[in-house]
Symmetry: C2
């Protein structure tokens, strides 16, 4: 499954897909590629390159749909959140990222890398509303770290200020979003900012879940990814059943679920 | 006037102010510093460092208040927008950035550097709502360039993808915020995204102007900075008179107004 085609280095998604596939072809003897329809192919025809863009969610959805015939599959990772309706044992999602942004199947918010200034424009502290600074000063990982939603080891991405990931620096980064030093803002207020970040992420996902549940008449959520804690809260908010893949498999597998899924799909397709 | 104290390199604003002042002291024989009260001092006492943080707006406000006794002075630059009420010939603004974010005296939005994903979370295209990608894919300069609000020469900041500043690349960056190639999104839709960026910036500023006009009983706006075009639209939206410093002085002076203002203040303070 290919997901790197949006990198700055490529002028277009097609160029990205073809360049990545060409590198893979030069290294591996017999690679297979999974497209967004859940099909494996030996090569990527240039005219079909778009079918291979951002296909990691398709692997997970194909795998889950073989096991749970009706559910909303949600994978909330470091950067994005896939919300895939599965109906009668088949993924019922659109295919391009552009369509997915429209259908609330792709919520571009994550548990680690997301710039807090893209999640909130204002926070309310002690009853007063404050505008945030629109820089890359703090990320979701800083908020979830001070709330105890993720462990120190789970803060795996780079920090926006190239400073350490310890709690003290997480607080410092959050304070900076209000152009404050930590002493000026106070740790209590910083945690309040973090709670508002979490609430905004949960609310957006909850709305998407309610939308998919209504659209496809679905009642259950299957969650994966290091942001499972946000999925559980969002599902609870709109009263949908929720099961988490970290409980069914393991936390490690849940976090790399597209890789686990594509390995299983390949095993089924080629080994029997 | 000091404005660099928020840089990643400094653990606190105090450290930033003291470090910058110490460098300046080592290079210049007899420097003077302007604080947020509009006073020049020969040195910065460590205990008063906070009075020198983000003081460039104070220079402009002190200068303008000597010429226009009652107005809302607005300086919209590459990154931020200062909204300073001037009443009875005196700046009536708060002093710290934290207070300024609360009082709508500092709107952290600019005409060039601002990440589009911090300005909008959704756009509406052909009646459909699309969620944006929360990356640093495109900036306000890309939007204002395709709208013709700024010239090629006025796009003076770095591009987020380290690619050229020409129109073709501006369109490409805007399309990317919707995870699209330009062909996929279409140039017409890209301009529509740009218009929604402009509208969001104008609306936010218009609300701040209306708030200040009410709070301090003010009726006129004096605008400066390369984002004067946004100030004029915002003032018009809330029916406030608006004069622009590019017309009174020149476009070049308007863009570097804090420097022009502090030079004039220093001339008045020390030359007579």
């Amino acid at each position: 499954v290919i997901t790197g085609e949006l990198a700055d280095a490529f002028a277009s998604k097609k160029e990205g897909i073809c360049s990545i596939a060409s590198s893979v072809d030069s290294v591996f003897a017999r690679p297979y590629y999974l497209n967004v329809r859940g099909q494996f192919t030996r090569q990527i025809a240039e005219s079909e390159a778009s079918l291979y863009a951002a296909s990691n969610w398709a692997a997970s959805a194909a795998f889950v749909s073989q096991r749970v015939s009706d559910c909303i599959f949600v994978d909330l990772g470091s950067t994005t959140c896939d919300v895939i309706p599965i109906r009668d044992g088949k993924p019922a999602a659109t295919t391009t990222d552009f369509e997915r942004l429209r259908e609330r199947e792709l919520i571009y918010t994550g548990a680690l890398r997301t710039n807090i200034a893209t999640i909130l424009r204002h926070v309310t502290l002690n009853g007063e509303k404050y505008r945030l600074a629109s820089e890359l000063f703090a990320i979701a990982a800083d908020a979830h770290r001070v709330l105890g939603n993720i462990s120190a080891e789970e803060y795996t991405c780079e920090t926006p200020d190239a400073q350490p990931r310890d709690l003290q620096h997480c607080y410092r980064r959050i304070a900076r979003v209000l152009l404050c030093d930590v002493d000026e803002l106070g740790r209590k207020n910083a945690r309040d900012v973090a709670r508002q970040v979490e609430r905004a992420q949960v609310d957006e996902l909850a709305q998407a879940l309610a939308f998919q549940a209504r659209k496809h008449d679905l009642k259950a959520v299957v969650g994966a990814g290091l942001g499972e804690f946000l999925i559980a809260k969002a599902a609870s908010k709109v009263r949908l059943e929720c099961s988490l893949l970290s409980q069914q498999y393991s936390k490690t597998l849940s976090k790399v679920f597209p890789a686990f899924a594509v390995a299983n799909l390949a095993h089924d397709a080629f080994q029997r």
